[in-house]
């Protein structure tokens, strides 16, 4: 239902070529070294960059020329998921309406979302006063409020310690399950991928090397993936 059709995207260091079809609710890990094109794939799907050739199709609709905001995607980064000058409530209001209109219904939604990620009652705090883990959770709360069917995550756990990673992984996995989200997770850590995803794609220098289910991979991995396990 999400399809990258004959995509070509040229940069000075590599050319990304991708033909990819992702089903509803599928959770795909995009792996590779930095500079392999992971973020580029996410950028193309999210609409932050435009492909030189090819199309991006979602549910039969051609999204190639569509604005990022009008795409069915929410995105979660490693950091900078929140505006530092706004408190959590103001940040999350933006996810509901870009004009930050005040109404009781929105504030209830925000309280609910914060509760769900374990940050209940922190509406008035500014991002700088939160820990790294709390900031990531606040980012997830934003994703919840955006309520988009596709979730793009760009190395969201890279800065967290192993315990936090596990915690966040579980939270994301539960969320995807509950909301039936389609997930694209860019990562260079196979453990992260294994914890959440059911399919893995390996990129090397912009070329799609491997595309296989993640289950049982540890035993029967293709050669290209072995160094990543």
């Amino acid at each position: 239902m999400l399809e990258l059709r004959n995509i070509v995207y040229r940069t000075t260091s590599f050319t990304l070529r991708a033909n990819l079809s992702i089903g509803r609710g599928e959770k795909v890990a995009v792996m590779g070294q930095s500079g392999a094109g992971k973020s580029t794939v996410l950028g193309l799907v999210g609409g932050f960059i435009a492909p030189d050739e090819g199309q991006i199709i979602f549910a039969g609709r051609d999204l190639t020329q569509t604005d990022p905001a009008a795409r069915p995607c929410a995105i979660l980064f490693q950091d900078s998921n929140l505006f530092p000058h706004l408190n959590l409530r103001e940040n999350l209001r933006l996810a509901v309406s870009s004009t930050q209109k005040r109404n009781a219904q929105t504030d209830d939604q925000i309280a609910l979302a914060l509760d769900k990620v374990g940050l209940a009652g922190l509406e008035d705090r500014h991002p700088a006063s939160l820990s790294g883990g709390q900031q990531s959770r606040a980012g997830i709360a934003r994703v919840l409020l955006q309520d988009r069917p596709v979730l793009l995550m760009d190395e969201p756990f890279a800065a967290l310690d192993p315990a936090r990673k596990r915690e966040m992984g579980a939270l994301i996995a539960a969320l995807c399950e509950e909301l039936g989200l389609t997930l694209l997770l860019a990562t260079h850590d196979f453990n992260d991928a294994e914890r959440i995803c059911d399919r893995v794609i390996l990129l090397e220098g912009g070329e799609l090397m491997t595309d296989c289910p993640i289950k049982g991979l540890r035993k029967t991995a293709p050669d290209a993936l072995k160094p990543w396990l």
Partner: protein, 519 residues
């Protein structure tokens, strides 16, 4: 980083010595001025007019520079175009340009009889007056619009790309994007930029000397010069110098509190950013802004070179003598400045009270060159004919004026080198100069080269203290150029301007390249 007392002994003492020298050189003139003015300062109504004009022109220049820098920085940040790297480099150029060349260029491009006026004339239009307030503000914009644009562009570069994508993904409209991204940049960048540019405009002398003049367009710096060279009224010169020093110290104090140690001349500004580009109207607007700013920066300089090149060969000997004199002075001043700042920086990284010492050092240097020159003059006069000391004093003052820039470029790199290399150097038993040579120098040579380039270019183009002291027949190249302009030998002045421009850019380039020897 310093776990226990560091055995840097000699170098640290040398640094403290250098710091003491700098403080003595900057504070003794202040004392000399204060001593002369101890019976109360004597100011006339026209001096108040000079103070008012100084503030008004600085305010106008600063506000207009910032107002135009905002769209320019945005346009450069979000567009990719042919020659973008060159354009960004060009925006850094006015800083190392000799002021007199730039002003001469502005006159020949935008003057009553300049290039634009000549183009407009057949259509029955003309250019407004360039002398007086207009011209002073225009010239200050020439120098500070690109500086402000680079400061804002730097802040654009510091915005995480993720935040911009987040804004896009959330569908922030134009107003919300401005509020949550751009306004945050401007809110943090504009106040310090305002203070820095206001300070630069308050203490600029050469611009007012050439484009100002009459009682209507006299700055405090110019009034100091006039009190000296026209009226020989030392009491008034000292009063004005005291006011100028107080004003600059006040502004400099604010600037120090506000500014982050960010270098608007730093590299990496030519990296294009992935920002939302807006529609066709926005693209056309950005294009227009870039083209106009480009023309504003390029026209005066190309005009000067275009007019000056044909006359290079028949320049009088005086010009070449002055050029040689200027070159030697620039090299002396650079050597002095680099030594002082290296020693001071070495001492500063060792001392707990470094932030305060650095601040004091920078504050003392904020005092305007003419105020310093006045003080020096007052100290020298009882002992000798100050005119015969014009060149050494100029070398000294130029070295002091460039010191803050070199220190600011040097300190972060030296701190980093110290953090990463001090233990290794200690383990290897490297001491004193050996440690500097092997552990620090290779890591700070780039900022040092860049700083030396700045110092050399600034000294090469300086027209400040030299105008106060020098005999016109033993002047520097900028002074000789000024003399040729005054005598209305325009072709020779244009030729001299071309030589001066070439020399300034060359010394900068050579030193800056020299900083890459380990690369």
């Amino acid at each position: 980083m310093a776990d226990r007392p560091q055995p840097l002994g000699v170098m640290a003492w040398a640094g403290m010595g250098a710091l003491a020298v700098v403080l003595a050189l900057t504070l003794s003139p202040v004392i000399a001025i204060a001593a002369l003015g101890r019976d109360g300062f004597d100011l006339r109504p026209t001096d108040w007019a000079a103070i008012r004009f100084t503030l008004v022109q600085a305010l106008l220049s600063t506000v207009l520079s910032l107002a135009m820098a905002v769209p320019l920085a945005r346009a450069v940040a979000r567009r990719t175009f042919w020659g973008r790297r060159l354009f960004v480099a060009l925006m850094g150029a006015p800083f190392i340009l000799p002021v007199i060349v730039a002003v001469f260029g502005l006159i020949s491009a935008f003057g009553h009889n300049g290039l634009i006026a000549q183009i407009l004339r057949p259509f029955g239009m003309g250019m407004p007056e360039i002398y007086g307030l207009h011209g002073v503000v225009l010239a200050h914009m020439f120098f500070n619009l690109p500086l402000a644009a680079r400061l804002i562009l730097q802040a654009w570069q510091d915005v995480p790309q993720e935040r911009v994508r987040l804004a896009q993904s959330l569908g922030l409209g134009r107003a919300a994007f401005f509020r949550h991204i751009e306004w945050q940049i401007l809110r943090n960048t504009l106040p310090p930029a305002f203070v820095i540019i206001f300070l630069l405009c308050c203490s600029s002398f050469a611009v007012a000397l050439i484009l100002g003049g009459g009682p209507r367009a006299t700055t405090i710096e110019l009034a100091i010069y006039q009190a000296f060279r026209f009226e020989f009224d030392l009491g008034r010169a000292a009063s004005l110098a005291a006011i100028q020093a107080l004003l600059c110290l006040f502004l400099g104090g604010i600037a120090l509190r506000w500014t982050h140690p960010r270098n608007p001349l730093g590299t990496g500004l030519d990296r294009p950013l992935a920002l939302p580009r807006g529609g066709r109207v926005a693209a056309a607007f950005d294009g227009l802004v870039i083209i106009l700013a480009g023309l504003f920066l390029i026209l005066p300089l190309t005009r000067i070179v275009w007019l000056g090149l044909p006359h290079l060969m028949d320049l009088p000997n005086q010009v070449w003598e002055a050029a040689l004199r200027s070159l030697v002075m620039a090299l002396c001043s650079t050597a002095l400045c680099v030594c002082l700042s290296l020693f001071i920086a070495l001492a500063l990284i060792r001392l707990k009270s470094a932030p305060y010492l650095e601040a004091i050092c920078l504050l003392a240097l904020v005092i305007s060159p003419l105020a310093l020159g006045t003080g020096w003059f007052l100290m020298l006069r009882p002992i000798t004919n100050p005119i015969s000391w014009a060149l050494p004093v100029t070398v000294l003052v130029n070295a002091l004026m460039a010191l803050p820039f070199v220190l600011r470029a040097l300190l972060p790199a030296l701190r980093e080198a110290d953090a990463s290399q001090a233990r290794l150097a200690m383990a290897l038993g490297l001491k004193g100069w050996q440690r500097v040579r092997h552990a620090y120098l290779p890591r700070v040579i780039r900022p040092l080269g860049f700083g030396a380039g700045l110092a050399a270019a600034l000294s090469m183009g300086d027209l400040g203290v030299i105008a106060l002291f020098a005999a016109p027949d033993h002047g520097t190249l900028p002074l000789e150029m000024m003399r040729l302009m005054g005598a209305y030998r325009m072709q020779e002045a244009q030729g001299a301007a071309t030589v001066l421009l070439g020399l300034s850019l060359s010394v900068y380039w050579i030193f800056d390249r020299g900083g890459h020897i380990y690369a």
